[in-house]
Subunit: 415 residues, 2 copies
């Protein structure tokens, strides 16, 4: 069984927004055994949308369409559905009531006539009630292919997918079991990994696929397979992963989804009842954002300070001005002082400190763009390292973030 | 003239990564007058890739393909190019040299045999030299359609696009001028805006398209058009935007690209030579990350503190424990104290403070998930407000971020 995702909206094709919906939908479909054949982004154009619908019908049993459901004139998905299914729009009373309810709940002014346009739906559609917004979802069928239309606003799409779409897909289709497992590694390149695991890779059976996913400072290795025997499939992949993890024991930190590097850090610190704080200069909040994005950080993470201005390193973190004078602000000496004093300030067991120049322009000092010092303070002292991370601002911040967490994990794993 | 983007990789179709490359490429192509007809993501599968190439050839003059160029076995783009163009792989000596250079530059061990596989390219291809990584780009033609292959790693793709691809596209194709202009608004819904600007919208000529882009707490309004007379096109859209901005003067903050809300804030603070600091609790670094993502923040932004643990609000920000006791930690009183003391601690003119519960679980207190207090301290005092932002963690943080910057902008615009 195959699904296809079609996202509608000029904003995607002119690069004004990044399509994050498709990744979410793909992941959720995979979980219930539905493979995605293709993702297609098309313009707000009737002919183009109809063309994409027709093409999708040939590959897929299920077509999920997002976007183009707003109350304004540029949104044409519903009318195009009518064209494709030879149907007309009729008013749905439950949607009318939902619009009224939502306006009452969020204490908005009276709904405008435009808001009630949302209640006009194709007569043959099964309406999927959207309790998070005014645009309903729709479920329609043509020649054995199911078409589902969802709003493009991510949280509305997510709720409708979870509450209305996935349960219906599970009922309607026979699906195999799909299994992916991904090992996270930090600090070794793609080719070097490939060479080390060549024999293991050659021994993989036909039905298990290996993929390499390299990014800044880390490589993810994914095994994928699908079939009807869930138990065998899991065992077969899990076993191969155990061997792979052995082969890469010096660089592997765990399995993705089960483990991000943050959840790995959280797990160890929680177990040891130890705590963490941050002093971020050049990463400007990238570390704290990554930690607090996962719910539950408050059990081990106490807080962070971003002393963006140099003087604040002295004022808030008590880094001696003479130290900055002597070694410059981007030095392992200053990074170490920041980390050590951060532990004291927040009364934590560990602290990460970053100081560097992310660019695009050089600072006042001598250092090239991309020069970064990272220090980790721990109960047994402080370690630090100086890096050159290239001249792309985004890349410098991302590499610093990955490296800082890698260094921290190494320290907290020591005892 | 139309382009099409094809991204290759199972990691996209199983939702393991979000495709950010396509948005970047689309935006850059639009700047030089190339419209993107469609974006298609396909599997690491020979037949599927060939199918997508064939379909793209029918719509597009230029097809940009990303991904599948790594040195490992799951990467099949080059072999598929050979199939499509009836070609074979040959070794390119300049790529061999580049691989050696890169390993020397980054002080890595000797290149492995796998690294030199990158130098094997289709014999008919024009090689696009990748100075950021080992995988070269390729430029090939079939029946008047140009196919370009680029690595999937974002910074390598970006450099190759800028240095090698765009200049060649400019030379090779006649292109019209494409113009988009987007007005940013905060605080009014899509339907309410549509009602207010109905007459203006009806008066738009056929060749100017309006799009509404709603997201949490803000709506973007985009006008788009293309043609050969750049001057007329710009004037026509700029003039209509001036009228639109008038109609929405109470909620419009400026034009996108020229202006984000952060650059608007930066502009005003720089002009007034005033400064900003942050005390973020429930947003956990989302505000500081947004500010420091834009280069140049250090002219007005001094620093941030994330007192994730309640006691730290007292210890670091001197919020009286009795105040927390009396009003609870999620109260406008605590938010105001955080903001006022943050100004003092960092010696800034303005400070934003956030305190709330983003979820998924309720804290120790009485408050529902989604309850958030935001305070803005300024030279003329402190303002604050309490909100209910729903029960979705991501949405609560995003809405708080947008609202906090909206409130700050209002305060700094006052005098």
């Amino acid at each position: 069984m195959f699904a296809e995702i079609i996202t509608i909206g000029d904003e995607i094709l002119i690069g004004q927004i990044v399509d994050t919906n498709s990744a979410y939908i793909s992941k959720e479909l995979n979980k219930i055994g539905v493979k995605v054949y293709q993702i297609t982004s098309v313009q707000d154009d009737r002919t183009h949308i109809l063309q994409a619908f027709e093409a999708a019908k040939n590959h897929a049993d299920l077509v999920i369409v997002t976007g183009g459901l707003g109350p304004t004139k540029d949104d044409i998905t519903k009318q195009t559905f009518c064209d494709f299914f030879d149907d007309t729009l009729v008013e749905d009373q439950t949607v009318v009531e939902n619009v009224k309810e939502l306006f009452k709940k969020y204490q908005l002014n009276k709904p405008l006539p435009a808001n009630f346009l949302q209640a006009m739906v194709p007569s043959k559609a099964t309406v999927l009630m959207n309790l998070q917004g005014t645009a309903p979802g729709m479920w329609m069928e043509k020649d054995e292919t199911v078409f589902v239309s969802l709003p493009g606003v991510p949280y509305e799409m997510k709720h409708l997918l979870q509450e209305e779409v996935l349960p219906r897909v599970v009922k309607r289709f026979n699906r195999p079991f799909i299994y992916h497992k991904t090992l996270l590694t930090y600090g070794l390149g793609e080719s070097a990994i490939a060479e080390r695991i060549a024999d293991w890779e050659d021994s993989l059976p036909e039905n298990i696929k290996l993929a390499y996913l390299p990014s800044l400072g880390k490589v993810r290795l994914r095994l994928s397979s699908s079939g009807n025997n869930e138990k065998n499939l899991r065992e077969s992949i899990d076993l191969r992963m155990v061997v792979l993890r052995e082969l890469l024991s010096d660089v592997a930190i765990g399995y993705e989804a089960e483990t991000t590097i943050i959840s790995r850090i959280a797990h160890i610190l929680n177990q040891k009842k130890q705590t963490l704080s941050l002093a971020e200069s050049c990463t400007g909040g990238a570390l704290v954002k990554e930690i607090t994005t996962e719910a539950g950080a408050s059990s081990f993470f106490l807080g962070s300070i971003v002393p963006y201005k140099t003087e604040l390193k002295t004022k808030l973190l008590s880094v001696p001005a003479s130290l900055i004078e002597k070694y410059t602000v981007i030095s392992i000496e200053v990074a170490e002082s920041m980390a050590t004093n951060c532990c004291k300030l927040f009364s934590t067991d560990y602290a990460i400190a970053t100081t560097g120049i992310a660019g695009p322009t050089k600072g006042d000092g001598e250092d090239e763009v991309g020069t970064v010092c990272i220090a980790i303070a721990s109960p047994s002292g402080v370690v630090s390292e100086k890096f050159s991370f290239g001249n792309d601002r985004y890349r410098v911040i991302e590499k610093t973030t990955n490296k800082a967490f890698e260094m921290l994990l190494k320290e907290i794993s020591k005892n």
